[in-house]
Symmetry: D2
Subunit: 489 residues, 4 copies
Amino acid sequence: MTGQCRPEQPIRNGAEYRQSLRDRNLDVYLFGERVAEPVDHPIIRPSINAMAATYDLAVEDPALATAHSSLIDGPVNRFLHITGSADDVVAQNMMQRRLGQITGTCFQRCVGMDAINTIFPITHEIDRERGTGYHRRFRAWVTGVQRLNLVVGGAMTDVKGDRSRSPSQQDDPDMYVRVVERRPDGVVIRGAKAHQTGAVNSHWLLIMPTMRMTAEDGDYAVVAAIPADAPGITYVYGRQSCDTRSMEGDLDVGNAGFAGQESLVLLDDVFVPNDHVFVDGEFEFAAPLVERFTGYHRRSYVCKSGVGDVLIGAAALVADYNGVPGVSHIRDKLAEMAHLNETIFATGIAASHRSIPTDAGNWEPDNLLANVCKQHVTRFPYEIGRLAQDLAGGAVVTLPSQQDLEHPGIGPLLVKYLKGREGVATEDRIRILRLIENMTLGRNAVGYLTESLHGAGSPQAQRIVIGRGIDIAAKKRLAARLAGIDETG
Amino acid sequence: MTGQCRPEQPIRNGAEYRQSLRDRNLDVYLFGERVAEPVDHPIIRPSINAMAATYDLAVEDPALATAHSSLIDGPVNRFLHITGSADDVVAQNMMQRRLGQITGTCFQRCVGMDAINTIFPITHEIDRERGTGYHRRFRAWVTGVQRLNLVVGGAMTDVKGDRSRSPSQQDDPDMYVRVVERRPDGVVIRGAKAHQTGAVNSHWLLIMPTMRMTAEDGDYAVVAAIPADAPGITYVYGRQSCDTRSMEGDLDVGNAGFAGQESLVLLDDVFVPNDHVFVDGEFEFAAPLVERFTGYHRRSYVCKSGVGDVLIGAAALVADYNGVPGVSHIRDKLAEMAHLNETIFATGIAASHRSIPTDAGNWEPDNLLANVCKQHVTRFPYEIGRLAQDLAGGAVVTLPSQQDLEHPGIGPLLVKYLKGREGVATEDRIRILRLIENMTLGRNAVGYLTESLHGAGSPQAQRIVIGRGIDIAAKKRLAARLAGIDETG
Amino acid sequence: MTGQCRPEQPIRNGAEYRQSLRDRNLDVYLFGERVAEPVDHPIIRPSINAMAATYDLAVEDPALATAHSSLIDGPVNRFLHITGSADDVVAQNMMQRRLGQITGTCFQRCVGMDAINTIFPITHEIDRERGTGYHRRFRAWVTGVQRLNLVVGGAMTDVKGDRSRSPSQQDDPDMYVRVVERRPDGVVIRGAKAHQTGAVNSHWLLIMPTMRMTAEDGDYAVVAAIPADAPGITYVYGRQSCDTRSMEGDLDVGNAGFAGQESLVLLDDVFVPNDHVFVDGEFEFAAPLVERFTGYHRRSYVCKSGVGDVLIGAAALVADYNGVPGVSHIRDKLAEMAHLNETIFATGIAASHRSIPTDAGNWEPDNLLANVCKQHVTRFPYEIGRLAQDLAGGAVVTLPSQQDLEHPGIGPLLVKYLKGREGVATEDRIRILRLIENMTLGRNAVGYLTESLHGAGSPQAQRIVIGRGIDIAAKKRLAARLAGIDETG
Amino acid sequence: MTGQCRPEQPIRNGAEYRQSLRDRNLDVYLFGERVAEPVDHPIIRPSINAMAATYDLAVEDPALATAHSSLIDGPVNRFLHITGSADDVVAQNMMQRRLGQITGTCFQRCVGMDAINTIFPITHEIDRERGTGYHRRFRAWVTGVQRLNLVVGGAMTDVKGDRSRSPSQQDDPDMYVRVVERRPDGVVIRGAKAHQTGAVNSHWLLIMPTMRMTAEDGDYAVVAAIPADAPGITYVYGRQSCDTRSMEGDLDVGNAGFAGQESLVLLDDVFVPNDHVFVDGEFEFAAPLVERFTGYHRRSYVCKSGVGDVLIGAAALVADYNGVPGVSHIRDKLAEMAHLNETIFATGIAASHRSIPTDAGNWEPDNLLANVCKQHVTRFPYEIGRLAQDLAGGAVVTLPSQQDLEHPGIGPLLVKYLKGREGVATEDRIRILRLIENMTLGRNAVGYLTESLHGAGSPQAQRIVIGRGIDIAAKKRLAARLAGIDETG
């Protein structure tokens, strides 16, 4: 029996979304124990809140976070929308920045959005070249997902073993997810997907290959949708910096409401019925699939400019609380932070604005510029974070605990001595410092920094695409012509 | 008598444009001598070629370089077009990049384009608030310029004297251009405009104030159009690095065809009839005029990404000629150059894409992103240039002269010893090295580097706009909310 | 009664040092509770280990970590040595780098070393100008400290309140430590010192002013030594990122042995007998004291190059474990990390090498170069950390917990799927990833990153010293002469 | 007949040095013509002035620019000294910085200094391993050079042809200098050395191989001293940006007194008597020779910090002349320029301070730190130059010519309009702007920028040495130990 994805009614808001995650009996492990109900776990809850924000924003600002879907002839959450224009692609970025501002962290729903918009044209192309029927299957599945307004987790990154070897060359054949059995009614897959963003908070996982493949790697060329609670799936929750502070109280965590989520997803012979298999063995399409997905996903990192907005605001606030908001070097640092942050935004917007239609009818961003955007994302949040810590001062890493502040004996002394300028409560100053700690060293530094570095591919992956994408031959001709070199000779 | 701007027939291409510049009897000084006919001067000619390319591109690719003008109800060169949509603003960038690729230098026509699109809404606003009739006058003048397809030079930067003092505080009142006499039929202006790009190659100069002004500075708040050959104007041609190589031969100059042009324009009591006066004394509008113009003009520096394309191509070509195109650090440097270059492009495109309409009906780019674009332009060409020199090797600054190469005795030895890989002519290797020298140290380094730094305002000017433009209060609220700070308290 | 600093016998090694900290009955608060015995607390213990390494190194490598003291005519730990030559100052750096390598964190003993070498000449100068007897007192106290081989914590940074106001302008006069009462036999001080490195692990605290002072701030100009267990002192232990992992087990913490320590030290009317007061009211000497101390201390950050060695090694090891040690971009990133790391080392060494003698007879480093060194320290560890995370891959922030790895059900699956190349134990791969997490996001990121930013003064403080220190007038003369400008005119 | 190097009496100062270059009948080509007397050529003269400064400084400041030579038991110019201590190596850097300040350009004498200190130990080692007698020969030759106080040009860089092939693999065997004939009394060499700094201004050229060699490359492994006027040598003078301005007048050139010099040296079967052959065929020593020489020479680029001092001074002066010296962003940029400039100095000093003795008795710098120093030199002058242009403003590239300023009609207007603040002569403002142009785009930009990039090896060469030099295995062990990894298993 396959897992049965709930709910049966469309999810209308964040509260209903939270409810939809209950009672699924997922195998989720954290600190060596199976979590009885992830929705109620204090470490997991903030990540669910972040995902829920994608539902609530669609209610509060439908122009920003919904779109009209031709598949269901009605409005859908923009995260589930098959883009119909360049403006649709740009609109995703606007929504992403806003959600970054609202949550200050990774809200996890972009991978699925980008995966849907990747598999849509890829299945169309495979069908055209191979006479398969994947595209129709995929449309049917997407239509169902849109109707119920579900979360789709895109599962791409394999664990990879020895990075110098291809999937089929590994000592252990399970280092990349593969089809281990083909039955008349479906396939059985095995392996593990690492760094899975929001998987525990998803209704469906969309399995995809992670890299270029050769004929020997055919069994690894598989795209399939599986319900998050399908038998055989185990989730091992990844530790994040300062994760346990979420269990201690609200002050020290910095951002008590929201957090990201990464887990390792073990697939122990999971059965997928044929209707949910969208690629099986067409290895030549693994490379274009990955390039398309990463093109889409790399400019999705515009979300980090929303997170950056929060951090810039926090840095400005702490300068204000310290009594020195107008000092020239502080103002200059805020301008530099904004300059870097807007560069992430602008390069993403440019990539989306210059989208082109696929043969399947959806639109996809400019691949070169999408990679330029992501390359900046691997650098600038670190510099923005460093500048935020600069403006915060040393207190960002030396503050006493919430319990000390609440201690009847030393608490009042701490309130006295940790005060900033007149008119600012010491607790507020501490709160903003803890937020900066959260975003530069703590739970949300994981999403703002490290995940910015590696999500959608590590920096070198972008450099390779940029190097390939610039039409160097045309540039050489431009130079030769101006230099007076006769190239016909 | 005012100057009489020719031609009387519309200019249709670069050749006609060149012809239109002849016999104007301009007072142009270079090396202490009045230039008899600028069109024939070997140092000036390449700058005219670059401007002419803006005419020829409109013939070759009208979709890129022309637009439909509602003022004349017909096609106009895009450089003279009053933008009617965000797409129009984006299209300017596409045209600019292409012209940068074609010329490898500054083609000088953007200032006028951006000035027209600035004065258009500003006059509209002054009229609305002050009941003046500037906007109608301006439309009439633009209509005439469009009909004849003329070059408009935008003249903004004053010589400034002591930079710590306002115009009216200077010891010498002529340090900023001002109205020295008001007559019934017009005004008389005096002063000097520095760093005037393409002024000698223009048909009209559009005088504008250079900075925020106060009531005391009223006489300095003047916008007016004057024919380039109006009595009282003297042009002193600015020296550029390696300018005299253009007089020596074609090989050593690197880019024999194209160059930029800067001059100092002395205005010695130039009379302007009322029809060509568009602001006179409304000092409060100087600041918004400058901010709007710089917003427009700063994202026009997308042209430098076209110039960057040439330099990247040159660097790739020299690596190829040296026999080492595939070496990993060389490929990585080319990718880095492209990454920086595309960032200039993308941030400009994003600024243009996010244009908004003015009350006067034309569109103007996002000011924050336009400044982000320009800020990158003040940094990245220097790094791209450094990397190009890195790939070029030391020969870029130690090559012998063309005359040595042509010397019957040592010439053949030079051909032998300066050869790169098999199959590449030594002369071609030298030509590409000279192009890189031209763009990083020589004539076109002026435009690619220094003018990128200071054109449309020096780096600090952008930082101030960025710092002001980011709505820091909103960002503070985002941070406070996530930190759990009650701001209502 | 003043506190009584133990021990009574010289401390000979790390074990004796640990013992010396026991039974002192310090008021140390952590998580809202008074710590019964800091030496036994799992969060505090790693910081004591780091300090203990300064004792053990002196045993293992006396040439590196001891010196001959003329005060006691015998060997002393180099951290207590009054420098007698430029080589002595350089030798401090060599010892610091080695201890950074051994501990991977802040070993806390440098502040005292640098403070001793600052107060030594400052008291000499005050005596000379004011006829006081501070220098003799100070020598006597240092002699005693050297005899017993104690840890001196240098306590400089006040809590500061409103940063835009001087000490005497604050609403609350206690925002800077000050003398609140003068008695015949001593003074009483009140206030708080923030970000106190290793204070709980010290035997003595050497109180110093934190900034330039005016006549109004006279009561704040106080230098005094107080035993760490003096009545009236309370320590509030600062929270560090991931601090509680030290209480969970050894695997997830990354570096189980060593950590830094920061605390807030509350001084509630602490009495200091006259023999331990070294400045009292000589406010004019606050500025030179701070400049000298920071000059000394800023080049002490050479220690971070030792910590950087560990992080470079960790990054190289994880690339090796992943099977890709020889890939060109990885090798290039390791070279870049080393380049940055050696720059910290080299600029510190240069500052120390160019030391000059003070009138008191000890040597102090070149102030300009010391600030150049520290300025790099505020930037490069962040970039080195980013590159380390780049080489680590996403797993650095998504690994499961130690308990999951030890779980009988999922543990073996995790060992299977988290494996790297053949021949490397999965646990070892996890260990090195956790070390990188520890140093870039976790406990020791506090010392390697944030403390590098703010310790010994925030970045702007160094920029001001650099700007003042470069003799700009002399540089102007160089330029004027070459430009042919006659400056005598 | 071999060339006869003059003079016969020791050169005592710059004037005598200039005289020593006369009447040598060198074959020097420039602009296709043989230069009758290089000493009198206006383009060459400034480069001779720069070299002459090395003589005059030895007179004016013997402590800085001379040393006691044991070879002649008397004082020698420090550029000819075989170092006898680490202090000697540091002293070279101090002298180099000073000469950079005096000349604002490349004074050309370092290559020989570093070459002498490289060949000295290399010949010692070859003799020890091969039983040859090179070292004695070399000492004898150096002794003679010291006696007469001559200039030695170090000639290393071959023209290289196809960079992907070794010397013996080239289509044309002359792409690297080689021995084409061995006679009883000496060898005959052929080939060309590119980018030869100061060759025309030298008395001797010391030929060295340019890279690692194999057995097949044996004929290319040659070290030999040849008089600059030896038969068969032809010099082709390299063009520099703005070189001809030196022929126009003094104002536009920016730095009328001093310039660098690069030429291509053609060796057309030059005979070298055995006494001047120091390596012939010992190919295994080519790699250590190059590594040693580059180690020595890379930290010699400390000279650029002296040139940087001039440029910082010029930028400060122009800000002063413009009336805005105290503006915060200007002061901050000056501090940044100084920070970068002092980093070059400090890393060089550290490399020299950590010198170690060779078996031959001279001292050589720390190779790792020397490469760190040079790596900074390939980056920071570009950034310092960019910041100098930033402070200079646009006028740095748009100034009129000297002839325009002297024109009776427009000259006075130019003096009026190009004035800065009160009290500063317009001409002085122009002079300092021209100096900045000279150093960032003009003649001395060649030395300050491009030659900083490629001299002593291009950036990638340093990265390779840094990558190899950091003992990565030791760093791995540090990390493994702290991570709790048992490496013995």
